[in-house]
């Protein structure tokens, strides 16, 4: 229903006025004085309102980082919660500036919905089952009922996996993550499937997390990242380099605690990143000290990861693939020069 409303608005807008500015997102955000960011409706670790109503999470902190880079103030973000099913239309229609909502980068989405600005989190799809079923491997799931969220790559991977392994299954697909988990918990399904990070997050929300187990198989590549609209290269660059800046900051050892001291560093790479040397911020259409704003107000990639999903959080997911390339992972950012 939301979609139809939206569509009507889009077409109505289309009918009466010129299209919202195509290549002007950066200017629009600066004029408005705030960034509008599409996030999930509540996924611990990624985007979730805490008990005081503040949004927290990896995806949320990325939005804050973009706001810090563009506006110099990480608090100037308006969050728009979106379901998996309805997440792309608001981006296309210009209702949000960035979609930072644990969205998997795939070819067809890249073509039809927008540009992926990078990979915030390398994820993969897994399965959660009840311990009581005594299932040790996803290959023992023949004939099982599987709860999943509709409009996700998860739904497609699930179909592929069972087909490839010649197993039968029954899929029950729901509109939101909450409905899906509720159905799994009520016993409607034997299996709950989604990205592993999300499985950890949802497991915490179950009434007896200890009764459930996440199976070892990872059945897909799920690189999750933020998206921007097609046709605005300047804005695409800003969002892309915000992520790179967070990664580069971690790689160079710049954190929210030492960023002020780091400005005095003699290392050319650090000086360039923090805007002491060169005019890299200006090239992007931002201020000189854009990275300093990001790191000071939000943190580098490692800090953000630890705080939201890593060792410093309830989820306690290990960095795994998301370690920097210098530490055995695959997170790698091009240099600032």
């Amino acid at each position: 229903m939301k979609r139809i409303l939206l569509l009507c608005t889009v077409t109505a807008l289309g009918a009466c006025c010129a299209m919202p500015s195509q290549a002007q997102t950066l200017k629009a955000v600066k004029d408005r004085g705030s960034l509008v960011c599409g996030v999930s409706q509540g996924l611990p670790g990624f985007s979730n309102p805490d008990d005081r109503g503040n949004w927290t999470g990896l995806d949320v902190d990325f939005c804050r980082a973009v706001a810090a880079a563009v506006l110099g103030d990480s608090s100037k973000v308006k969050f728009t919660p979106l379901s998996a099913k309805d997440r792309f239309e608001p981006l296309k229609s210009g209702d949000i500036d960035v979609l930072s909502r644990n969205t998997t980068w795939t070819l067809s989405r890249d073509v039809s919905y927008g540009n992926f600005a990078g990979v915030m989190y390398y994820d993969g799809q897994g399965f959660m089952v009840r311990k009581a079923l005594k299932v040790n491997s996803a290959l023992e799931l023949n004939g099982a009922s599987v709860c999943t969220q509709t409009g996700t790559t998860t739904e497609l991977n699930l179909a592929d996996y069972f087909r490839a392994n010649n197993m039968k299954y029954e899929v029950v697909a729901f509109g939101t993550a909450d409905e899906t988990v509720k159905a799994y918990e009520s016993g409607r399904c034997d299996v709950f499937t989604t990205d592993v990070s999300q499985l950890y997050a949802e497991k915490l929300k179950l009434s007896n997390p200890g009764d459930h187990v996440i199976l070892p198989e990872i059945i897909s590549k799920e690189p999750l990242g933020p998206l921007v609209r097609h046709g605005d290269d300047q804005w695409f660059d800003v969002v892309k380099w915000t992520l790179f800046a967070m990664l580069n900051a971690e790689e160079l050892g710049i954190s929210s605690k030492n960023v002020d001291d780091a400005k005095k560093s003699t290392q050319p790479e650090i000086r360039r990143l923090l805007g002491v040397e060169g005019n890299f911020g200006e090239q992007l259409g931002l201020s000189k000290d854009w990275v300093a704003h990001i790191v000071k107000q939000v943190g580098n990639y490692g800090e953000v990861f630890d705080r939201n999903v890593g060792a410093g959080s309830k989820l306690a997911i290990s960095r795994g693939l998301n370690r920097l390339w210098t530490k055995g992972g695959i997170q790698y950012a091009p240099p600032v020069r």
Partner: protein, 401 residues
Amino acid sequence: MNTYVAGDMRGAATPPPVPLRNDPAFRALLYQLALLAALLYFGYQFALNAQANLRAQGIGSGFGFLVNSAGFGVNQSLIPYNESDSYGRVFLVGLLNTLLVAGIGIALATLVGFLVGIARLSPNWLLARLAGAYVEIIRNLPLLFQILFWYLAVLGALPSPRQSISLRGGIFLNNRGLILPMPVPGNGAGYVVIALAIGVLATIALASFARRRQARTGRQFPLLGCAFLLVIGLPLATLLATGIPIRLQSPELRGFNFVGGLRLIPEFVALVLALTLYTGAFIAEIVRAGILAVPRGQTEAALALGLRRGLMLRLVVVPQALRVIVPPLTNQYLNLTKNSSLAIAIGYPDLFAVFAGTTLNQTGQAIEIIGITMAVYLAISLVTSAVMNWYNARIGAAERR
């Protein structure tokens, strides 16, 4: 032709002809034309703009996506479907699921509505109050709430497959649904179907004959008994004669759930239950209003003519009540069909969920898919009202106006 022309012919003082711009008929026509032109222009601009904006955003349009492979599973399908089938097939699966829920929902809601509506008028104090309480509670709670109630609170509380409630005759109930034995036709089952068809056709012919004979001679024909023999007796006799060629395939618990047999998924059951009870409450009020709308004098007159109670109801009260009942009843049927799109909340794969939901999300063809979906709901609704209008016109003839 204007009236003053006639005045002209009567003679003497000819009033000056009204100028065209003051002619009310001409003016009315002019306004209508202007409005039509404005509407057409608006529509044209709308289409043009939408097209231009789609192109500007680089969104391809067209219906080519319908033949692409869908790649996702659907948990209830009336036609064979698997993940490698096309989006077009997904559309059909969703459409049939919507029609199934709407069809069964309409039939059951009508039944519930008539029973409760009549019960509310019953002289039995308890029955009337119970029916009243049902109507007041059910129609005043949001439908989505009721769907979730049946799905999560009632059906969700059923035991898991391994602790299924076993009913008689190989029927099982658990949180995966209601599992029934599946009738599998064997050799000679076709004869039973043929016998049933013969029985039905013969009954129709007999009814027509009986009506004509009664009109001619006034003698009544024991139609009910004959119809019962033909429709039920004949196929049953054939069934026995061919040695009962229908086998029941019993479901058995294997692995995670029952294998074999026929399964009604809980999403379907919850949706049908909620839609039936909700719409039934509204229909009950419509039925009550319809019956109360027949003046008491009609009943008294019919009884005074010596009609028995059953005949009085069938020939006098019901036809007049139906005239009041049918138009608002049509509204309820349309509501039920459209409300079935709430299925998405509980994962029932209806048209809205699998086509306007999943397919739209996978393909991004918003304009086309929303267009098709709107056209389908519109078509279903228009067909429903056409049928009901026809029925209304037919029963409306009872009163010669």
